[in-house]
Subunit: 329 residues, 3 copies
């Protein structure tokens, strides 16, 4: 896997993803061998804020003996032009072409976080920032959450499933939409769906009708070995599930219209995942990527209960990221 980008799990075969998870499990158990990244470096470029991802990426790089250079810019601070042939006489201070080519000269990989803008769906579906980074970079580019994907989270989720079920093959997974005070991007749900189906899981997505996942993502998931079903009835998805994964996202139907979206979202407060609902899936364990709005998205009793795997899942971020860096660099 040397010298490949890590933009979405779809770019890797099932066998490659499984080898990464197996390696992450070894790393979790034994730690990394001494210094495969010694003398090498990774730029961590954050166009959106991050605590968990930054911390675990810095730790992953350090675990391999490398140097992480964190660039905590915001999309406001570092205004990157990405149009070819632009006459740069306005607000944008640097062309992404120059920024990425320079970084490519001094580091061994570039990891990027650039959230969905949530204003224009068509635009977000092109995943504009990470695509521009990948286009110009001369070193591997890693996705720390883009407009469309959060594949490191997806890998941590799948590692947690493999840890608890031995395999993801044929495992019945319920991915349920959850209420939230604000409209969130779909990237986490997208990557969960893609990683799970890539590894052969049978995923049922439960969401209100105004909350589909992006059509291109659904199409990719449909081409993966696993199975995908969609329902508007949360109970149906949960009944008999072996894994319950909750996540909130904003409505694609009223993208870029936050007031309308908030009204629509307000109708579905009863989609909270609580113990009564978890009782429909007596063998399931529970996943959520965190941070979580307790008692809005998910009830305390579920998060703090014996079937919660959310802290294992968070810890696994570190291990899969270490495995991915090791594989790619």
């Amino acid at each position: 896997m040397k010298n490949r980008n890590f933009i979405t799990t779809q770019d890797f075969t099932r066998d490659e993803l499984e080898r990464l998870i197996a390696r992450a499990q070894e790393l979790k158990k034994w730690g990394s061998r001494i210094g495969p990244l010694a003398g090498r470096s990774v730029a961590l470029v954050f166009l959106n804020p991050s605590l968990r991802t930054r911390a675990t990426m810095e730790l992953a790089v350090a675990a391999l003996g490398g140097t992480a250079v964190t660039m905590d810019v915001g999309s406001d601070v570092w205004t990157l032009e990405h149009r070819e042939d632009a006459v740069m006489n306005a607000g944008k201070t640097e062309h992404v072409k120059d920024a990425v080519r320079v970084l490519s000269r001094v580091v061994d990989a570039i990891a990027v976080r650039a959230f969905a803008g949530l204003e224009n769906l068509e635009d977000d579906l092109t995943d504009p920032v990470i695509s521009a980074f990948a286009r110009y970079a001369q070193v591997p580019v890693l996705n720390m959450e883009s407009a469309l994907y959060h594949p490191m989270q997806g890998m941590a989720d799948l590692m947690t499933i493999v840890e608890r079920r031995g395999t993801a093959e044929g495992v019945k997974v319920a991915l349920t939409w959850a209420p939230h005070p604000k409209a969130l991007p779909t990237a986490v749900a997208n990557s969960f769906l893609l990683a799970a189906t890539r590894l052969g899981a049978e995923v049922t997505i439960a969401a209100p009708s105004e909350y589909p996942l992006p059509e291109p993502v659904m199409r990719l998931a449909g081409e993966n070995p696993g199975r995908v079903r969609v329902t508007n009835r949360q109970e149906e998805a949960l009944t008999g599930a072996q894994v319950v994964c909750a996540k909130s996202w904003g409505s694609l139907v009223c993208y870029g219209r936050p007031e309308v979206e908030a009204m629509v979202r307000g109708k579905y407060a009863d989609w909270i995942v609580d113990e009564k609902k978890m009782a429909l899936a007596p063998d399931a364990f529970f996943l959520h990527c965190l941070p979580v709005r307790r008692n809005v998205e998910v009830a305390d009793a579920v998060l703090d209960g014996p079937r919660s795997a959310v802290y294992d899942e968070a810890e696994n971020r570190l291990h899969v990221q270490t495995a991915i860096l090791e594989a790619i660099l």
Copy 2:
């Protein structure tokens, strides 16, 4: 001392504190042995800004061969819920329970800075943030200044006294309130008092009557081996002192009422520590934790004079922190 929190010097015996200082002196002289923290990591979580503390903590972790992960959040940026059972449908984005449990999975210790809010005394006296971190953490928690305590500063102060007097036992210390353009927390003064009395010093606190230290802290100091006296007359405290430590703090009498407090504070501009006052303590050296408002809190002639130990004191922050990390991890 393995696996203990470092929240206040009161949690450690006099013997333990003395061993830490002795070890800090060795570290200052010889440097750290190679890599006791190799492959291990410490999260430095700043809910308030810091330069000196962040730099010296990063250096302390590096000196031991570990990896520091600095999280420069602000209390505004990272809005942590700490009430149990909260329904998180408002502004707070993460429960401290989740944040701390996740960090506990990926780092070997968590150091936290969370200043006093200075709005509600009762609230600040519970030391709410560091207490929540300690409650939920599964790894040692270190205090880089909380609402009530700044024990690393206290330890650096005491290390400086031990360096210059051989011991703190029986040393006559004047802790004097000083003027300042704004109301500051009491944490530094509290920890100085507790560390000094824990190690047997005889401390006289001089402060205007509106500027007592918190009653629970005074009670703890009273239970320590050293002696505590309080006076409203600065000259009385300074006369014959062997150590003069100056620090400003806000009035507990008008806590949360900044305009009133500013008027009260305005009456005491003549509490500045100058050479005339230092002449009352001809054998004393001078301590201040820095940053210092020159010629407001303390006159240039004192800070830059031969009896100033303020830069030794600042340097000793690095050495005591290294010793504490080494002892606890």
Copy 3:
């Protein structure tokens, strides 16, 4: 060169600068020997934002096995008093004297970025912040761009010239002013001029008459071994040049009056460096320090063309900085 400051290339002899560049070339080719900075540390103090400089400085320190402590303050956040005898009862929270003395105790070198204020020319010509750091520091101070100088950029520029021409001696260099949406400091142009003439290059500066470089800098350049000519006609400077370096800077004639300056600057949009102009210098390669306003300062065809050396130049920042740190520490 041990224990020297690196404030401007003028403080180093031509022989010393040439040895630094030769060493940077070795470092570029072979990497650094193991750990000459092991157990040592460098504070990187940013009073102005930086991405490229911060990243390459952190990488340079890491390449030598040292620990970089980055202090991303802004001139607003960390308000440093620098007047002697100041009564600090207003907004400034710390005296530069104290900040620098403390840093001197805990790190092995202090690198500083503090841009020109662009309000008062006389003030900026004293290079107030870096001068104060150098005055109080007890360890070497390195300039990561001050009001007057950006010597690490100048060294990277000259390293690129030496790489491509074998020497800077007698090389014909055109330093041309370029249009830009805002008034920029002169530091990069100043240091380019000084480094190039120090190493014996023949520099022709082309700039509109309102855009001279600071008189004291011109005087220093005149004392260097190389030659300096000034012209208001861009074509004249470019014709027959072996190196073309483009850079924008603000007018010294209307310093501190941004509206007037913007009107003056507006007259010179045709100073953009494009292929037609580069045709006047058929043997030249092209330099720009980046970031660059594409199609305002320089045309895409030049930046992306075969004669562009801008990415080599950016990469060389890393290598010269590593060589400088190695020489000084």
